[in-house]
Symmetry: C2
Subunit: 605 residues, 2 copies
């Protein structure tokens, strides 16, 4: 087993030096926190993860969650995690004091959960879903519902879920068919099936509070007729005891990865006795859900970034310990009188490790930045800034969800390859990371859906204003980079990519303007990849700038090497990854149309 699963130094460097967490702390909401107290919190999370999460990672894969007699049997560490983690404030941390929270910045919450994800990605979801469900109640439900459910959720005593997906609808939420019937009391009767419900049930949960999307009888078709309900597994009797609420666990999906994190199929109201309480107003359910969707999607990116980091640490350790082969001499032959070298000395192994490092650390930087915009948006009172933060958050979110998931997978794939045949063997953890991370491109809207969101909604939003704002941020970094001779060529290169982006959009936009949305969006996935590479290169250039600045100052928290290696990794990313934008732009601007359905032709015969 690898010894290290996360790089706390890099995490703190990104938090404080790159993304200036301390600037947030002057805000009233965070006034009780300072760098020291937040670091103590993060250190305690690391300590907790060392003891209660990381040691169970492999075991939770080998003994997966399973369905048994109406419930799901999970590893007992789920119970420990919810109870002890709840006690530590891992679930409640970002909530307001009045709701039982610690009012920590979302950025710090992201950092905290990132450490946990890196330690054992099968556990934090149990807390994360509970938190998301509680947040919906806090934000949109009435006081009674809040007081009834939230306190026990934030301590980890009760779990929570989000119930969106149905068997016949998948990602197409407008086709949700779960029904809600009004009664003459304060509740509705709920009836329907939900699938892929993470953390949907387990033997340790005294209660699980489901946040369920359903259609009130007579509601409009499509997304406009969807309401949100609180549907507890067990409802509360007038005497305060719990009774079953006709929520049935039908099955637990067996999966290739994240096998300790259960994925359930739930049935509501089979016996016409499932009570649900409306959250907020009728037909506003999807709006509520989507107001919290940015945070949920950033959370997916965070999980993938964390697995990519853990895999990088495991590959790095192996490469540093494994002797094999010899370096090439100037004759092109090897000298067999020499001892074998360590595989980390082979250029190709170094290439794979640098790819892992650049994706893992870059992805972390991205999810921290997106989290920072959540904080800025949530705390600023300046109207103009609010619009700016909102738009930047909107355009960053699909990328923060997708890039760590897609590139993270590639990075773990390379990490497995570093180990050679051992990487494929169950005794080594790489194969598990490889399986675990595969779900992230599917969670919370697949890559296809995120890409349509980016190109179809976020780019055209407010006449391209979001893109303008982000381009200004990128230009700021480019200008800062021009202060350092070493960084100038990279600053220049990134500048040309902004122009290339405009060129691609100038090619694509006319299709949308002519109403040919299918053509406009046909290659949205390629645009996602293209634009992500530019965003990531921006973040790497920013890291390089901050590293240069640090190297100029005194009393550095980390070694000179640490900062120099960040600059080296930026160069790697520009050479091996950013270059891909040229080919992608070429494909995007290719006039040939090959993927649009034509009823006259079956191209798959």
């Amino acid at each position: 087993m690898n010894k290290k699963y996360v790089d706390i130094d890099t995490l703190k460097f990104l938090l404080y030096d790159v993304h200036s967490l301390e600037d947030l702390l002057i805000n009233e909401r965070f006034i009780d926190h300072d760098k020291e107290s937040l670091n103590m919190f993060l250190d305690s999370v690391k300590d907790f993860s060392d003891r209660e999460l990381f040691p169970y990672l492999s075991e939770m894969d080998k003994i997966p969650a399973y369905y048994k007699e109406g419930t799901v049997i999970v590893h007992q560490q789920v119970d420990t995690y919810m109870k002890k983690g709840g006690e530590m404030g891992l679930i409640s941390a970002p909530f307001d004091y009045e709701d039982g929270g610690l009012q920590i910045p979302f950025m710090v919450h992201t950092a905290s959960t990132y450490i946990q994800d890196a330690a054992n990605n099968h556990l934090p979801g149990y807390g994360g879903l509970t938190q998301g469900a509680a947040e919906l109640i806090v934000n949109f439900a009435n006081k009674t519902l809040n007081q009834t459910y939230v306190p026990k959720m934030l301590t980890g005593q009760w779990g929570g879920t989000m119930c969106l997906t149905e068997p016949q609808a998948g990602s197409s939420l407008s086709d949700i068919s779960t029904k809600a019937f009004q009664t003459d009391q304060d509740f509705y009767k709920i009836s329907g099936q939900k699938i892929f419900i993470s953390a949907g049930d387990h033997q340790y949960a005294e209660n699980i509070i489901h946040l369920v999307l359903a259609r009130i009888e007579g509601a409009p078709k499509g997304t406009k007729g969807i309401s949100l309900f609180v549907v507890p597994k067990n409802r509360i009797n007038s005497d305060g005891t719990l009774i079953q609420n006709d929520v049935i666990t039908v099955a637990d999906f067996q999966k290739m990865g994240q096998r300790g994190y259960c994925t359930t199929h739930l049935g509501f109201g089979d016996n016409d006795d499932c009570h649900g309480w409306l959250v907020g107003e009728e037909n506003q359910g999807l709006k509520y859900m989507f107001l919290l969707m940015n945070a949920a999607r950033i959370g997916v990116g965070r999980g993938a970034a964390a697995i990519a980091m853990a895999a990088y640490q495991a590959s790095l350790q192996y490469a540093n310990e494994r002797p094999q082969g010899r370096k090439l001499t100037s004759t092109g032959k090897k000298n067999h009188d020499e001892a074998q070298c360590l595989i980390i000395e082979h250029p190709d192994v170094r290439r794979m490790l640098l790819l892992q490092k650049s994706i893992a650390e870059g992805s972390l930087s991205l999810v921290l930045l997106a989290s920072k915009y959540e904080d800025l948006l949530g705390t600023t009172t300046d109207k103009t800034l609010k619009i700016k933060y909102k738009l930047i958050l909107e355009i960053l979110t699909p990328i923060a969800k997708t890039y760590p998931s897609e590139a993270g997978l590639k990075s773990v794939d390379n990490g497995l390859q570093v180990l050679g045949g051992y990487g494929f063997c169950s005794d080594f953890i790489l194969q598990q990371y490889y399986r675990d991370i595969r779900i992230f491109t599917l969670y919370e809207g697949t890559t296809g859906i995120q890409s349509q969101d980016l190109l179809g909604r976020k780019i055209p939003m407010e006449n391209g204003k979001a893109l303008e704002f982000i381009a200004l941020e990128i230009k700021d970094t480019i200008n800062a980079a021009y202060n350092f001779d070493e960084l100038k060529p990279y600053a220049a290169k990134l500048g040309t990519k902004l122009e290339l982006t405009q060129e691609v959009l100038d090619f694509l936009m006319p299709f949308a303007k002519k109403g040919n949305y299918e053509r406009y969006l046909a290659d949205a996935n390629l645009f996602m990849e293209f634009f992500s590479l530019i965003i990531m290169s921006w973040l790497w250039l920013d890291i390089a700038v901050k590293s240069k600045q640090k190297l100029q100052s005194k009393n550095l928290p980390f070694s000179d090497e640490f900062y120099k290696n960040k600059i080296h990794t930026m160069k790697f990313y520009f050479k091996y990854e950013l270059t891909k934008t040229n080919s992608l732009a070429q494909s995007l601007m290719d006039k040939e149309v090959l993927t649009i359905h034509n009823t006259d032709k079956n191209i798959f015969v």
Copy 2:
């Protein structure tokens, strides 16, 4: 479960129309075969695979091979496969009549095993390793060894393996330390450990014949001191009975995929009683092994191509059956009064399916072509042609091993994505293909090793003669494509890629000439990807040319649509894949050096 796992029409089109299998049959060696008889053979293989292989694919994953009391317990279908498959000639087919074979072309053997791989990739390896071991004996060992072992191997009664890898050496074969001590009899005593031995032991094997690389006491260091031995699990007593030969099964590696195909750790001579018989001459072991390595590596590519095809068929079936979402209208909105469309109508799903199709079918074309050169090389008597065939085979082999493995993985990854969340679930086969195919970039020399072979050995070989030969073949196809207006732009595009290849090599070669091999080879993996894309585009253009020719003729075996769709897929490959060569060339010609080890710096701190 998916219903279809292979596309026999495409297989036959590639065999006969694209790669002109019939031209081979005029050769003396194949004189007894004609198209009809070979098709009957392939149809019987398909029938056998339908009955005995495909139905057990999922089961062999769920009940993996495991170690128990000194042996490995495998699924009983392994026994059926070896016995019935052996009876059918699946193992013996490509051998000479005098050795018990059918003298079928290697191309047809590739096609036959491809069908089996596509049906159930956990089984054909048991036959394939037996075949490889028998081939080494037939080619290089004396008559006695041949008569003692080969007949029972070719009928599947006895298994066979190749024992190369050792724990301390991995891919570095020059560091093999298994020892052979001469005795005063006809055998040596063998002592050592071998790992990752596929099909190394199982409860149904009456005997397993290991072909073991070992170092005779006093032999030179490095690759020049390695000899090859026949080491049976059970040796033959003077009375013809079998007794144990001190070959111990130490363990069975548990793996992420191909779980029904056992991977063993073997110990030789723990009790100083392991007899091994020298194959051919002393210290020639690696040479013998590598004379058969081309076929073995093509075999790996074939297996990956087959899994990619099976995954494509499964994704295609799902996409054709699953309704979800709606097509975009000209307002950019969806019409919820319409019924949901099938997901195959969404451009992004079509893009993923076309990617799968282009990789799966293209990879098949590649392994068939490489196999054809094996046949041409093995049968031609013309000295000049022999040199040409040999060089083309040498340059194609690392690509035929690597491209299907690397791109196949990407294609299965996209195939899993087509299914959304279901793709990740154990009830659907995609997640198994995704796990199974992951080993292929590691088998028989990792992608890193294949890439060094391509750029380090094959490209410079005979002053670049191999590359020249293949470039001439590519130009022939380009010229043929110029006969068809529709194909002209693609022919032109491919032509520019030959120039780009030369440009890249002009940049790299000086490093080798100056003795800086480490720099020359540092980005060999990128060159592999770059050159593979060009080779694959050539093969697709060739398919398009042959399709055009077919469409012009009458009495087509397949529908017009079939041929038109091949041309469509070629266009897809050129638009979405071949374009990547531009970015790759840019990275390859970047002067910055970022991955070469420098003892003064630790870039991973």
